[in-house]
Amino acid sequence: MDGHELLDLAEQCAQAKKPIRVHCCTSTGCQAARSLEVKKALEKRVQDCQLADRVEVVGVGCMGFCGQGPMVELDSTDPQVTTTHYEKVTPEQAPSIIDTIQGGQTDALQGNSQHPFFAKQLLIVRNHSGKVDPERIEESIALGAYQALHHALFELTPEAVVQEISKSGLRGRGGAGYPTGLKWATVAKMPPGQKYVICNGDEGDPGAFMDRSVLESDPHRILEGMAIAGYAVGADQGFIYVRAEYPLAIHRLQKAIQQAKQKGFLGSQIFGSGFDFKVDIRVGAGAFVCGEETALIASVEGKRGTPRPRPPYPAISGLWQAPTLINNVETFANIAPIIRKGADWFAGIGTETSKGTKIFSLTGKVCNTGLIEVPMGISLRTIVEEMGGGVSEGQVKAVQTGGPSGGCIPSSYLDTPVDYESLAALGSMMGSGGMVVMDDKTSMVEVARFYMEFCRSESCGRCVPCRTGTVQLHDLLTKLVEGRGTAFDLAQMESLCQVVRHTSLCGLGMSAPNPIVSTLRYFPEEYQALLQPDRWRIPATVP
């Protein structure tokens, strides 16, 4: 297939769409809220009303507003039918939504697309989520999928691709924020030979589900991004590592890979060029530490997922000792738009040091829960209060970002812009994008204990500070929570936090004390309130 054929195919696929599309979300969240039954009811009504010539019901990926699911959207190019969306649709209400096409009434809850939750978003990664059927490659092709790959293969050298990514200022979306272009350049500079590209979809942070949503809603974007990366660094084999907890994402990826192979977008001699690229899926088995890159590599090799000391970094010596490029799902999802629209366009979005957009999963006690994609530099207040609608009762007390590696940001700092540096300065981190809102009923010491319990059970056991330090920290926190702790325990906990942070082998241990340190920093009074009078004293005389 050459460029013209791809464009023709896109044109054909776009033509094949019917003027009125009824998008029904079929992501994990909405499926749990009976969206498959809703979809069936919609399809049946279209059949019964004999509208099939101009109306089609499409099962699409995530539309973002997961707390209000199942979501149904009427997407119309027909001037007589307005585009709108409905929330919390039940299978009973579904037929009446179809009736509105013919001027009928519906009692389904109509959503407001002008609501800040939608209006403040800027969609780059998620712009096709909720618009395409992730199980049919034609839908993605109609919206331009794989055109960036074609452009890269035929109009750019590998060096130019790396340069473009560097110029865009894209930074890793997995948490640490390492410049993507620099990572690519390191792998590309390694001598030719076997190299690998790995997509890290081991989204272990509790409270984060952006990667699941992207994989479930628009898998071809990830495959395209990985193929471009393979071309740029000289790799011919890619692996996507997905958590076993995401069965739907795995299923859709398998289907997407198969369809992309059939069309010749993956495999040997892509688009008739000399470039080969294959992608395989590796399924995790429930270990949080496998999100760490060296642990993930061990897991792909079929071993225990324990990290190893770095350097050498995976870019020099990774999977089976070959140079390996590891990026997060969201990072790969940004690649195709950057190649298509140019680095300057991307660099124009966001702040000085943090470019582009970031997806957050806004959850917890906030009114509007779901996924949001916002430009970097937006304030936490805008996200929590305007888009999220604040908390349902009481006040926002803190926002937790970065999962177990991050920290709690108190409400007094809500005007902080969201970028890598600002969040780090507050003792938290961008992380992969979980954002859990807590109200004034939440005890911060309990939250710290919750995260420490998590780290304790997820520690791989390889290095001592993390293996035993997390156990001791958890015990000390339990002692405090149960009202048995003293000022001595608190002091010991603080010093232990420093030991664990500075002496652990990998990111899990290094960041495990973060929730304690940040809650101690902003909510010391909650710890103080739990303290017992100090009974610890040095015996006056040694017998």
């Binding site: 994990t28 969240g29 499926q31 749990a32 809220a33 507003f65 997961c66 707390g67 699911g69 030979g193 076997q194 989204e203 272990g204 942070d205 509790p206 409270g207 984060a208 589900f209 699941r212 084999q237 076993a244 907890e245 995401y246 294959k278 395989d280 590796r282 399924v283 995790g284 088995a285 429930g286 270990a287 949080f288 897991s299 792909v300 079929g302 071993k303 225990r304 997922g305 324990t306 089976w320 000792q321 070959a322 999963s361 959850t363 917890g364 006690k365 829960t369 779901g370 996924l371 937790q400 999962g403 979980g434 859990v436 807590m438 939440t442 919750f450 995260y451 998590f454 997820e458 791989c460």
Partner: protein
Amino acid sequence: MAIATKPDQDQPVSQPSGAVSANAPMSQSGSAGAAGSKASGSKAAKPAKATDSSAVDKRFKALDLVMKRQQYRQDALIEVLHRSQEIFGYLEEKTLLHVARSLQLPASHVLGVATFYHLFSLKPSGEHTCVVCLGTACYVKGSGDVLNALEKHTGIQSGATTSDGKVSLVTARCIGACGIAPAVVFDGQVAAQVTTEQAIARIDQWRGDA
């Protein structure tokens, strides 16, 4: 399907044909599959119990097929263990030894991997599984209370199975369904905004139908 060569490996991976033939003598030398086929055929019991010869054979055959499809690659171990657990319900010693022999890996390596990952279970699980998500969003919305109530109601701790073998109670770190917290997975079906009463009713329903 995947890469066939692995650079800098101490021993080259066996070629598919070699691995298949290498596997045959090994099963004679005491592999569970061969041992099982010699046992006299008793009546088929529960699938979780590997006593019946015909059932054993079938399941080990299915497992062999899985490994063959993976070309007996050692790096496919995790995938093979996933499928073994699907076939057998859990990973017992016999199965692990069979996998170790077939993939030419030390038994300690296979046991090490099987015990490292949370999703592999070395004990048989109940007929039904109830997974309570304890991710941050679910926790903040009260999934801890749901779990406590279920533990109290069933009289077992999370990770255990009720004495009648009906229900296994499990916790998950985050199933990525934070928008509908608190989420509970009943036999693979995610349920949204689950209350304590709903969860208990579901468990009672399972325990009720004998």
